[in-house]
């Protein structure tokens, strides 16, 4: 289950990161080292152990549905990269590369 260059290129694409050829080589080596270290964990037989997603038993929290002020819209939009008519503006979405 050794990590290769193609795996790193794949996850970089999933994570929306563009890597140069040199970065691809560097990261492949470094990530493989970390995953090799994790081989001890991957090799354990833990089929009878339940996974823990969260350290403490915290249940969903509900509150009364009462309106209250949120963050100020103008303040939020003031720090956005691009806005138009009180909304976030982005480049075209339709027709993008698959």
């Amino acid at each position: 289950m050794s990590l290769g260059r193609a795996d790193v290129a794949h996850v970089a694409r999933l994570a929306r990161l563009a890597l140069t050829e040199e970065e691809l080589d560097l990261f492949t080596g470094q990530l493989a080292t970390v995953l090799d270290h994790a081989a001890d964990v991957a090799a354990l037989d833990l089929s009878s152990v339940a996974p823990t997603a969260h350290p403490l038993p915290i249940r969903n929290v509900l509150r009364a549905d009462e309106p209250r002020p949120g963050v100020d819209r103008d303040e939020v939009l003031a720090v956005a990269p691009d806005v138009e008519d009180g909304r976030f503006r982005v480049p075209r979405i339709v027709g993008e590369a698959p």
Partner: protein, 484 residues
């Protein structure tokens, strides 16, 4: 037992300001002056808020003059790690992708500090998005260890630790996901606390790994750290992981001593450490025994898997949390013809190498075909660690170990070797996996003369007993002679 109190610390300062013996403005001006002369070398701060701080100090003084009480931290200067949101003040997490971002709200801890009369004097440097153990991955450049400018302050909350160690501020806040408060506290010779998961609201803390992140205090003394934790702890409806329980009373327990307490010297939290660090932890155990604690050796073999599990779980959560930096709503945007290209161009330019490494590691650990082998398996190890801790705490009240396996390393020493860097978190990670509290207390120095931290671990909501032991260690630490 005598509790150590620093005459220039938070408790004494607040007492003087509340009594009108000293003005908050003079306290804050003194801190700002120390920062402006000393921080050129240390580089603990990325933003200094001189004008806001003076205005806040004036308000504290007015309250005192009018006969009111500004609160338990009246006029005390505090530094904030730059991943805590401050309304209208840059909050960048040491990342280019948030460079210049002005949050539209304050973190709950920031509101609590203000409510207690504390005065924020600046934001501190950190590893980018808290990913790192040396503060070297910050886009603002390195912070230097006040004990030796060639050494790292630790990380990721290195700026906050250095700000307290340099004497710029008596108190600072950091965040601890795998040791990011305790390890820099140990490297800089100050007290650092990771509270129980859920004790301190994380509303307004920029998320790294949500099942592990916790905000906590730095201080020069155990007593001041307890005072700060009392102020920031407690329920917050804005954080769904916040406990409903009231904040713990800590000030009263510090002087209770450790007679009759059961302390476990934890093999796995010491064994991989350098001999001089091991000697200090041994010395700490001996001091606690001399103070009346029942010290025994405890082995928890499951902790050996903690590091591997952490470096799958934390990156997995980070890869999800950091998906929000897409150039759409805030922070950096690098323009491109379509949205997907804009997202990629923005993230590629905005994140540094360590953050990219962790995002890719996490994406891989969560990806089809590897989820069970890596992420799923790490979650099961987390269960093993929690169950093993529970068995240990059936026999002892607290565990004792090293905070970090070495003293502060040299700047540049580990930055090109991620696995070596990750190893510096090996003693701190188990508490994050379990959601338990832990504290690092300065306890003498290593062969190189640099500070060594000893770590006290307790079960969930065991802060009171943890602080009792920490106060005893502080009073019996090498060089603390006067308090004995």
């Amino acid at each position: 037992m005598t509790v150590t109190e620093d005459p220039r610390g938070a408790a004494s300062t607040a007492r003087q300001v509340r009594a009108g013996e000293r003005s908050a403005v003079s306290v804050v001006d003194e801190a700002l002056a120390a920062m402006s002369s000393g921080d050129r070398e240390v580089h603990a701060f990325v933003t200094v808020t001189a004008e806001r701080a003076r205005a806040a100090a004036e308000a504290v003084d007015r309250t005192v003059a009018e006969g009111g009480d500004p609160g338990p931290l009246a006029g005390v200067p505090v530094a904030l790690k730059d991943n805590l949101c401050t309304r209208g003040l840059p909050t960048s997490c040491g990342s280019r992708i948030l460079s210049g971002w002005l949050p539209p709200y304050d973190a709950t801890v920031v509101e609590r500090l203000r409510g207690a009369g504390a005065v924020v004097v600046g934001k501190t440097n950190m590893d980018e998005f808290a990913m790192g153990s040396s503060t070297e991955t910050s886009s603002f450049g390195v912070t230097r260890n006040p004990h030796d400018p060639e050494r790292v302050p630790g990380g990721s909350s290195g700026g906050s630790a250095a700000a307290v160690a340099a004497g710029f501020v008596p108190l600072a806040l950091g965040s601890d996901t795998g040791g990011s408060i305790r390890q820099p506290a140990a490297f800089c010779g100050v007290v650092g606390v990771k509270p129980t998961y859920g004790l301190v609201s994380r509303y307004g803390l920029v998320a790294f790994a949500s099942s592990l992140d916790q905000i906590g205090p730095f201080a020069a003394t155990v007593g001041d750290a307890a005072l700060l934790l009392e102020v920031i702890a407690g329920h917050d409806p804005a954080d769904s992981t916040s406990f409903g329980a009231p904040a713990p009373e800590l000030g009263g327990v510090l002087g209770e001593g450790v007679a009759g307490l059961r302390v476990g010297y934890c093999t796995e939290l010491v064994e991989g450490s350098a001999p001089d660090v091991v000697a200090r932890v041994r010395g700490a155990a001996d001091e606690l025994a001399a103070a009346g604690a029942a010290v025994s050796e405890v082995s928890i073999p499951e902790l050996r898997y903690g590091l591997s599990a952490y470096y799958l779980i934390a990156p997995a959560e980070a890869s999800s949390n950091l998906a929000r930096y897409d150039g759409v709503r805030y922070g950096l945007r690098v323009d491109a013809a379509d949205v997907a290209s804009m997202n990629t161009a923005t993230r590629t330019a905005g994140f540094g190498p360590e953050v990219k490494r962790r995002i890719m590691l996490g994406t891989y650990a969560l990806s089809a075909g590897y989820y069970d082998a890596y992420y799923g398996q790490a979650q099961r190890v987390r269960t093993l660690v929690i169950e093993a801790f529970a068995r240990a705490y059936g026999k002892v009240d607290v565990l004792l170990g090293a905070t970090a396996p070495t003293t502060a390393f040299r700047i540049g020493e580990k930055i090109d070797d991620p696995m070596a860097m990750y190893m510096s978190d090996v003693c701190t990670i188990p508490s994050n996996l379990a959601g338990h509290p832990a504290i690092s207390v300065p306890f003498g120095s290593g062969d190189d003369g640099l500070p060594v931290g000893v770590q006290v671990l307790a079960p969930a909501l065991g802060e009171a007993v943890m602080f009792r032991v920490a106060a005893a260690l502080e009073s019996r630490a090498p060089g603390a002679g006067a308090a004995r």
